[in-house]
Every structure is written in C-alpha cells, then in structure tokens.
C-alpha cells in the first residue's frame, strides 16, 4: 500500500498522535486465551419441550413477520401444531424466562395461530431414497414417525384399518379439537412429507400384498391401533426411549408406563417418540444400504443448553402487553396478536442480531457476516477480552478455552 502522506518535517506531525492508517495489520488474535464462541443454544422452553421444538427459532421468524418460515421451523419438529396448540400442557411456558419479568410467552396460542393460518407450508426434504416403510396406525406417534421418515426421503405408506385416520386422537372430545382441525392437520402432514395414507386398509401378514410385501420396514403404532390388534408373530417389540437399535423387519413400538394409556395433553410426548422411532429406524435403513454420513435428522439442532440464569433479564424492558393478564380467550389469535406475543420472547440462547456485542467490542472484532444474517468473530484480531459474552443478553456467546 502506498502511504497517503509522507512525514518529512517536524511540522508535518499532527499534534495529537493520530494516523489515517488503520491497525488491521496488527493481528492481535494470537494474544487470545479464551475465544468467544457464538452458538445457538437450547432455550429453557425447548429443554422442557418433550418434542424439543426450537421455540425461540420459530418465534424469531414470526417477529420478523415471516409467518411461513415460522411455521416451517415449527413443523420440522412438530408436524401437528394445530393439535399441540389445543391439547399440550405446554411445559415450555412453565420454564419461560419471561416469567421472571411478567408472564410466560403464550407459546400455545402462537402455535395454534401458526397451525391455523398456514396451509401452504413447505418443508425441505432430503433426496428420495429407495427405502420403503409402512407405518400401521395413524395415531400421533405413527403420523409423527411417518412424517419424519417421509421428510428424510423414505417412501412411506400409512395403513390404518379404521375408516378414519387419527387413531387415539379420534377419542379427543370435539370441543377440544374440532374434527375439521384434525382432518386439516393430517392432510397437511401427509402432503408435506409426501406420504400415502390408506384408511380402511386390510392388513394381512399371512398373505401380504403391496405395500406390506415390499416394505423394508414395518412399524406398528401403539397410538393408532386398537388394543386387540393382532401383532404378527415375527414382530419385535421396540421401545425407542430405551432400545438403541431397530432389529427385524417388523417392529411394534412400545411406550413407557407414563404414556399409557393415551392422554391427549401428553400429545407432544407421542410426537417425540414417533420422531425418535423414525431416527432409529433410519439408522437401520441407512446401515442396510451402507450409506455414509450422519443419520441425525437435524445435525444443526442446538445441543448445549442455556440456563435461565444466563439470560440478563435486566437488559430487557417490559412490553406494553405485560400489563395485560394472560389471554384466556377462546379461538385462534389473529396475526397481529400472535406477532405481538412473539415479540415478547427473549430469544434465550438464540441470536436475534441485537448487535450489543458489536456495539461493545473495544476492538471492532465482531460484526455481521456478508449476508448480514449472523454475527461472526474476527479471530485474527479478537483478543478474547470477553466483553461480547458479558454483553450478550441471551447467553449466545460463551468464552471457551481453545487450543489453536
């Protein structure tokens, strides 16, 4: 670089020692002992959710007015939000950090709003594979399992001997879930995951026709079949919470005692078991074809938890809505009300680009990436002072010892 000005005489020197040059050449990053790591972490609400839904993630999308994206994120973990939005006991709300300030974010109502408003949701699907799976029973567990397998590219057929899909959900009183809502939820699920659903199916293991005869794996759903359903002789019991691997070609899923018999408020637990079944089934299916790569359906799922104590609630101000009592209104919220409620989410463990770290960094060593969608640390210059981690109100930045 050519100097812009060459100082040759005493009178050329500025009185205040300053230059028009920068300090970028001085790579102070190797002074660092601790490194700020920016990582999305599991919020207390998500930790409490049986289905592990990344709640701050989809609420962030809603805050930005992107309802479609919010619904997509929600559906990726919970394919039946219209049902959880009406039935679930919402342990997420019990752990909401916002309770320290005023009251919990009403995740239930937002979930219900998203489910009811969004019929054009999209899900990113993996490539189609040649694996064929038949799920027998269309209860919440079976539907969730089928959905996740479908999203991962399997060719999934759900067979239900009953004339109506829904399994145990059909017993939920209609004042809790209107039949049309149930029908809409199932329709969306099968469309999104590209599943074939056959009701009134004849299931004959002795003389199996298609699709049973061609299935690589058959999964029996305890929430979708009557108690007296005749489990075929070759079927292996599989408890997804305890058993590591799926063995055999026919499995019937068994539930822990706490989930028996079916109870509607526990719906998220059944959805979770369905997903776990799908993940472990995929492990087997993929192993059979000796495919490489991770089988975890969401490798980017945040695993590290953020504690309620890590959230600096003193940095947040109460919203106008805080003074209102928790809404107990019937029906589905409108878009405005749901967005206002989403605004109340503190985004625990999730960066929402508040840029406090950028403002406070004394070395201008943290900033937006090129796409302006994330904050990144300039490791060539960051000295590891930790101010960004201290200033982050959401516990996203942590200082960790790193070996270069």
């Amino acid at each position: 670089m050519q100097p812009k000005k060459v100082i040759q005489r005493l009178s050329d020197l500025p009185t205040m020692p300053s230059t028009i040059g920068t300090m970028v050449w001085n790579e102070t990053g190797d002074w660092r002992y601790l490194t700020p790591l920016i990582r999305t972490k599991l919020a207390p609400c998500s930790q409490a959710c049986p289905a592990g839904i990344p709640i701050p993630g989809y609420l962030s999308a809603l805050k930005k007015g992107d309802v479609q994206r919010g619904l997509t994120l929600l559906l990726s973990h919970n394919p039946l939000p219209g049902l959880t939005g009406r039935l679930c006991y919402h342990p997420c709300q019990a752990k909401c950090v916002r309770r320290k300030m005023d009251r919990a974010v009403s995740v239930r109502d937002i979930e219900r709003f998203l489910a009811d408003v969004g019929t054009e949701a999209e899900i990113e699907k993996s490539e189609t594979s040649d694996k064929r799976v038949v799920v027998i029973g269309s209860g919440p567990l079976g539907l969730s399992c089928a959905f996740h397998l479908g999203c991962r590219g399997c060719q999934v057929v759900v067979l239900d001997p009953s004339n109506q899909a829904g399994g145990a959900l059909l017993e939920v009183p209609s004042e809790k879930v209107e039949p049309q809502v149930l029908a809409n939820e199932i329709n969306r699920l099968i469309l999104l995951a590209d599943i074939r659903l056959e009701t009134g199916a004849v299931i004959d293991f002795e003389a199996p026709g298609e699709p049973l005869s061609k299935a690589d794996l058959i999964i029996l759903d305890p929430t979708g079949l009557p108690e007296n359903f005749a489990v075929p002789a070759g079927a292996a019991a599989f408890n997804p919470s305890e058993d590591e691997t799926v063995t055999g070609d026919i499995i019937f899923v068994t539930l822990p005692k706490s989930l028996k018999p079916f109870r509607a408020p526990m719906i998220a637990h059944y959805i979770a078991v369905g997903r776990l079944t799908a993940e472990k089934a995929l492990d087997r299916l993929v192993a059979c074809s000796e495919e490489q790569g991770s089988t975890q359906s969401n490798p980017d799922l945040p695993r590290q938890a953020v504690n309620a104590e890590d959230i600096k609630i003193e940095r947040f101000s109460a919203s106008d809505l805080s003074t209102q009592p928790e809404a107990k209104q019937a029906g589905t919220w409108d878009r405005e009300r749901a967005s206002q409620e989403a605004e109340r989410c503190l985004s625990c463990g999730t960066c929402n680009l508040c840029l406090q770290c950028v403002s406070f960094c004394p070395d201008a060593s943290i900033g937006l990436d090129e796409q302006e969608t994330a904050v990144v640390v300039d490791l060539d210059h960051c000295k590891g002072c930790g101010i960004c981690a201290y200033e982050c109100p959401r516990g996203v930045i942590t200082m960790e010892e790193t070996i270069p």
Partner: protein, 387 residues
Amino acid sequence: MKEVMMGTEAAARAAKLARVQVVSAYPITPQTVIVENLADIIGRGELNANYMPVESEHSALASCIGASMAGARAFTATSSHGLVYMHEMLHYAAGARVPVVMVNCNRALGPPWNLYCDHTDSLSQRDTGWIQYYCADAQDVLDAILIAYGVAEQALLPVMINVDAFYLTHTSEVLDVPDQAKVDTFLPPYQPPSKLDVDDPKTFGNVCGADLFTSIKYKRHCDTLALEKLWDRTAAEFYGHFNRMHPTVETYRTDDADMCIVGIGTGTGAMRLAVDALREEGLKIGCLRLSMIRPFPLERFKRATANAKQVIVIDRDVSFGAEGIVAQEVKAGLFEHHADVTLTGFIAGVGGNDLSVEAIVPLVRQAISGDGNAVEAGATFWTGVLP
C-alpha cells in the same frame, strides 16, 4: 458577585462557568464536595453536561480522555490515592494531547492512612506530562481552572490544578465569582483541531516506530516548555477581563532580598508573614511561591532569584532517599544561572501539620545559624520528628 464558598465549591463553580460538557469522577475525601456539587448543578439542569459515575479513578480519567477526544470539554477531580490510581491514564492523556482539566486535592498517601494536606501525591506524578499548578487560595482555585481550560485547549495538553486538602478544600472564603457572560467571552467553546469522527476516520494512539517516536516526544517537550509563556499570555488576558493576577511564580519582597523562602500551595501565606516578621529584624528576605511546577517556570524563577545568596525551600512532600521534590526543582533551576548560592531544604507540614509563622521562622533561623530542632537527614532537614 461576592460569594462565600469553600475551595471545593469554587472548583465546582469554575467547572460550571467553563461550561464543561463531561464530568467523570470518583469520590474521595477531600475532593468529594466537588463531584457532589457538580452532580447537584447538573441534576438541577444548571449545566448541560454528561455526568458519568464510574467505578474508579482510572476509568474516570479514561472516560474524560475519550470525551475530550470526541471534542467535549471534560473535567475530573480527585485526590491522593485516586490520583495515583490514575497514573497510567495521566501519561495517556498527555501523550494523546487531550486538554482535560483536573482538580487534585493534595492529600497524604498511605499507609499510614491520613486525609490531610501533603504534596507527594501530585509531585510524584510530576513526569506524566501534565501541567501542574498549585493554588494559593480559593479565588485562585476558581480562576486557575478557567485559565487552565484556555491554556490546555491552545496547547493541547492536560492541566492539573492542585488544591491543598482542607486548607483550601474545606475552608470558606469570600470570592469574587465572575459573570457567566464574561467567562464565555474569555473562554469560548472548545474547538478541537482533530477528534474522533466517524466521517473522518483516523487511528488515535497507533503504533509508532522509532523513526517518528523521538520527534513526537520532542515536539511535546517543546510545546510543554512553551506553556510557561502561554500561561502568562492567557493569565494576562484573564487579568484584562477580571482584574486578577495568577502568575506562574508569585514573588513577595524579593527585589532587594539576598535570602529567599520557596514553597508551593497555601503554606506560602505563612511564609509571607514570616518574611514580614524577619524583615522587622533587619533581614533582607523575600518569599517566592511557585504556582507552576510543570513546566518549571524557569524565566520568572531566574529573575526572582537573581540576587539571592541563600535559598530556603520548605517541602510538604519528599522523594524518599533524596530530598524534597520542590527543593530538587529549585536546585535544578538555580544551577542554570547561580554559582554562589546555598540552599537549605526542609520537610515540613506533611500529613496535615500546620505551616504557621511560628513554624517557619525557626526554620529560617536554623538555615542561617545551623542551629535548630529540624533533624538532618541526607540533604534535608525534617521538622516535627520524634526525638
């Protein structure tokens, strides 16, 4: 307008009259009244300034440096341990050439703990590059702060106005408080030649190689030396507005004197009375108050001591293992132009011991006769020492 106020109140009033824009300070006895007063003044809306409470003196000066670099007129005040806690930032302020003005209330350094007057705190910061002025009375406090801003902002150097603990900080005097309008004329708003500005980005305090470092320090040295005359010019301008003198060296009956007492701060009041008493006895003695220690006001000092054959320095401070710090300064000043002069240095009035006429006259006698109660230790004589 005449008002009765303490030196600390005078300092706060001066900051208000100077329309400082940022005040950042940490309370410490006996300075606390200054920051409390300023907090009140700003809180009442009488001064449009940003009052920054900070967790330490180091941060107080650091934030004043930042404010000044952003173009604001910044003020802070401290004392004793607070001042020495600022040490790193003192060097930084002078190196960065920020015209911050600070009041330091001269108090003893512990341990042992002592809240009273002593000059070791500021004199031990002598080489940080700050302009050091020592006040004689509360009017001097108020006026010197106003002159200090004028000088600092022309020279781009920080100024420390030193105020004797309790003798000045907590003693009420009748002051002539200048009108705001007249102060505004004397002291227009600060116009920095260069400042932190996102529209004109520069790097301040960048790394500098050996090639330019010497030149930058040399330039600062020259600018600091020139400050003696700059103060004189600015003080003369102040005299034009307010009719009060605040010279870098204040002389008393030195014209025909072959003997001269030298000191700084409020103790020089008693020295003048001692001069009067000793003149009654026929001694040709005078007295000299160094109001400026940095830069050392060599020109005026030379003139004031031109005829002196014997110089007596009374230090309210000590450089352990050497002698009084003012005595060292005076010795260095005399070396320039005097071949035949004797100097006797006394350490007196440290930690709050009064420098009264009764205390000073015996020191002069001891300097003349060699007999007295002050105990010899190296190049110094200490008073008030246990037998």
